[in-house]
Amino acid sequence: MKIIVNGEEQIIPAMSVHDFLHSIECDPMPIAVELNRSILKKSEYRTTFLAEGDQLEIVWFVGGG
């Protein structure tokens, strides 16, 4: 199925947010995730399953002033 991750289209099999983050090696990092413009709490990663057309934003901290 197709989802949008950080503005880019990705084709992935059906899976949870937790598994997706693991597949892109994002899980050990201090990140925040927004699914269809709503913040997803870390406790919800395992119980939230991605669906066709979902929009995912994955952010972290970078240098800034």
Binding site: V5, N6, G7, E8, Q10, I24, E25, C26, M29, P30, I31, A32, V33, E34, R37, I39, L40, K41, K42, E57, I58, V59, W60, F61, V62, G63, G64, G65
Partner: protein, 260 residues
């Protein structure tokens, strides 16, 4: 008053250092970490950005910042609407597990001046959601009072445009802002060199926030140390109470007993 006992608070949290530093535009994380250490700052600003999905080998900034020692202040740099700024703050809270945010809503790419209308909108929402909001704003006493009335934990008027190094262009407004609000006043942006930071502190500001003045210096680590000293010197001078400015001379040596 000794430097030791001269602490200050933001939303009930106590800090010793009155210098807050950014983490942007360093040659590498190593240099950034050394500069932060030299600055003596306890609060460091960071930006919130998309993780690069295709290149996952990048180190994390947080590997270089000891969160037991430093308070993270995520910013909303690059946001031009209240909506984007609020969204960024919610993400920052989730990533960092802290309520502290440096709220900036920009109005223009060339000046990076704040869009104060959007800033007020965003501040109102974020305060309601329990954030500790530190807004970057114009050096406008009325705006600062409105931000305090909304429940912001501090106000952060600019000294000059971000990254300009022009120093504090309107010290009189900064003074009026300090008379107008009870929350901490932090000069954010515009500092170019140590004397600018000292002037902010001599005016009686509670703190100074800077990034480019340190990271853009030829030797960022040395500049960080100079800012550390300047902020402490300026603060001490403010507490010591400067002499009034006078047009004519007052002799320092006795007038009696001059020979001849």
């Amino acid at each position: 008053m000794s430097q030791h006992s001269d602490t200050w608070k933001i939303a009930g949290r106590e800090f010793r250092s009155r210098l807050m530093v950014g983490t942007g535009k360093y040659a590498d994380f190593q240099q950034m970490a050394q500069a932060i250490e030299a600055s003596g700052a306890e609060i460091v600003t960071v930006a919130v950005r998309r993780v690069n999905i295709s290149d996952r080998n990048k180190e994390s900034l947080l590997d270089y910042i000891d969160l037991k020692k430093y308070t993270l202040l995520p910013n909303t740099a690059g946001c031009y609407s209240a909506d984007d700024a609020v969204r960024t703050c919610r993400l920052a809270r989730e990533a960092g597990l802290s309520d502290f945010v440096k709220l900036e809503v920009l109005g223009d790419e060339k000046t990076l001046f704040p869009d104060n209308e959007e800033l007020l909108k965003a501040a109102a929402i974020l305060v309601k959601e329990g954030f500790t909001v530190l807004p970057y704003t114009s050096d406008d006493p009325i705006m600062c009072r409105k931000l305090e009335d909304l429940g912001c934990a501090a106000v952060m008027p600019l000294g000059a445009p971000i990254g300009s190094g022009l120093g504090i262009r309107n010290p009189y407004n900064i003074r009026i802002i300090m008379e107008n609000v009870k929350v901490p006043v932090i000069v954010d942006a515009g500092v170019g060199t140590a004397s600018d930071a000292a002037i902010a502190m001599e005016l009686g500001c509670d703190g100074v926030l800077m990034n480019t003045a340190i990271s853009g210096a030829r030797d960022p680590i040395a500049m960080a140390e100079s800012m550390n000293l300047a902020v402490r010197a300026g603060r001490l001078a403010y507490l010591a109470g400067r002499i009034p400015r006078k047009l004519y001379a007052t002799a320092s040596s006795p007038l009696e007993g001059v020979i001849g």
